[in-house]
Subunit: 302 residues, 2 copies
């Protein structure tokens, strides 16, 4: 049978988050976590990361309940990566209150041999030097997708540029696209990013939707409109998970890429409706399909 | 023959605009001007407004060349309304440097009898007390559309609320929707606005597109992606012109409203590519149709 599984390497964390709508303490978070859970709606996921001995067994159980393969999740002596942040009123800005890398500080991904040929790879939002370590260990991939953020663009630009030459699709948000290229127009910024190496770039604009730019195609959709957003943490990671999960399941042509971006939008819309994975935990395939149809209807002018 | 003409009441001005991409001095501007020119691609427009004796004959000629009926354009002793502004680097913010109302200060719209039964009316972005004066003079309309802005929401709230009870569609931008309703979520803000009276509301988000909200429908599209924006002045007014022009030509059902919003998007995308009406002056029907097809392609995932 064709191998359609996904490998994700990234952070697994315990988050403490405060938003205008409430607070959640020491809840499951991390880029690889949100990605894996989201992708698991569509495909088999293998998670590579590290947690400490204090990582709650209930979190392990939750990921296992989605058939997420945890062979690559190292449990190390020490404490799990912790992040704490607070969102401002409009939820578009957040301040990090504390960041304890703990066991993540010395993390160097070592892929179990069985995972090195996963056809789909997601290099979640971690240090691009770790991305390069992963890329050295893998082979025969169909698609390598990478996410990044402001601190790596600022502090690890050379490693990031090296990574960009080796991947297929880059995810980043609008301000990061501007920061990486020093170009304020997003379309131009996207085209500049293609010159760094990726075959396409996906620029996330949060509540304003997303743009997909490749040398011969441009696609853009709004976000799914929500009346109540509780916590944006994990929106980008679960967006990427929905995207790559859908592609792993359905294939890689342009039409599928567009549909994958719509499903990514839908999955992320559920994520932000509650803290951590609380909303995603209860989402059914039927609800995803319902929201997909609604989205189709509310954007259709044919 | 069925009367499909549009009446617009608003400002006609001479603008001096500075953007990071250049400067234009004493060029044709004003809400009714941009609206009329944009709507003239689709329908017959009657403009009601006032200018001074210094208003350049070439501007009159330009509007006449688009078959815009200027019976209602009063030429009064004194100087034409002048506005001067400067846009910041990302073009999303602007500062007004000077505002000379001149002949506009005592403007009270008096509709020539032939225009009182125009089926489509656009109350452009002027004092809502003037909107009410127009509404008292008109009858048997098919559709009354109104635009407003922050200064009227702040200083003329009661007149604006009275206007909202008498119109069909309200145009405003995202920050104004939040200001009017004191609700930060745009979907909720849109629904709140419907309670004030309009049958639907169109929330403009600039480079992020537009949302249409009615009691039983929701529609949203991104903006047309542009690599170079020169001057955003008049984008909202020409958006409204494209919208109402298309509806006047094509009719009022939901499908046509959606298409009208797409054509509005296309027309506004041309407006911002140059100062004043410079780009719109040279736009052909073929170019509009080409951009429409491109937009359809870049948003399609069916």
């Amino acid at each position: 049978m064709e191998n359609k599984s996904i490998l994700v390497v990234g952070s697994v964390a315990l988050d403490t988050v405060k938003t205008p709508f409430g607070e959640a303490k020491e809840v499951l978070g991390g880029s690889a976590t949100f990605f894996s859970y989201a992708a698991s709606f569509f495909a088999n996921v293998n998670l590579v990361g590290v947690v400490g001995e204090d990582f709650p067994p209930s979190c392990i159980e939750l990921l296992r309940s989605r058939n997420i393969d945890l062979r690559g999740l190292e449990i190390k002596k020490g404490k799990t990566f912790r992040w704490s942040g607070v969102y401002k009123n409009d939820l578009n800005e957040r301040d990090t209150l504390s960041l304890e890398l703990n066991v993540f500080e010395d993390f160097h991904p070592l892929l179990p041999p069985g995972l090195r040929q996963c056809p789909y790879v997601f290099l979640a939002n971690i240090d691009p030097e770790l991305h390069l370590e992963v890329i050295e260990q893998i082979k025969h991939q169909r698609l390598i997708v990478c996410d990044t953020m402001n601190i790596w663009i600022e502090n690890k630009r050379q490693a990031l540029l090296k990574t960009l030459r080796l991947i297929d699709i880059l995810f980043l948000n609008d301000s990061e696209a501007r920061q990486l290229t020093r170009e304020s127009n997003l379309i131009k910024a996207g085209k500049e990013i293609l010159k760094f190496g990726p075959k396409s770039v996906i620029i996330k604009k949060g509540e304003h939707g997303v743009m997909y730019i490749s040398p011969d195609s441009f696609f853009t959709i709004p976000a799914y409109p929500l009346e109540s957003v509780c916590d944006p943490t994990g929106a980008g990671d679960s967006f990427a998970g929905g995207f790559l999960g859908y592609l792993a399941k359905e294939g890689l042509d342009e039409k599928k890429i567009r549909l994958a971006l719509v499903y990514a939008t839908i999955i992320a819309s559920f994520t932000v409706e509650d803290f951590s994975l609380e909303r995603l935990k209860h989402v059914t395939d039927k609800e995803i399909e319902k929201r997909f149809q609604e989205f189709k209807n509310m954007t259709n002018f044919a």
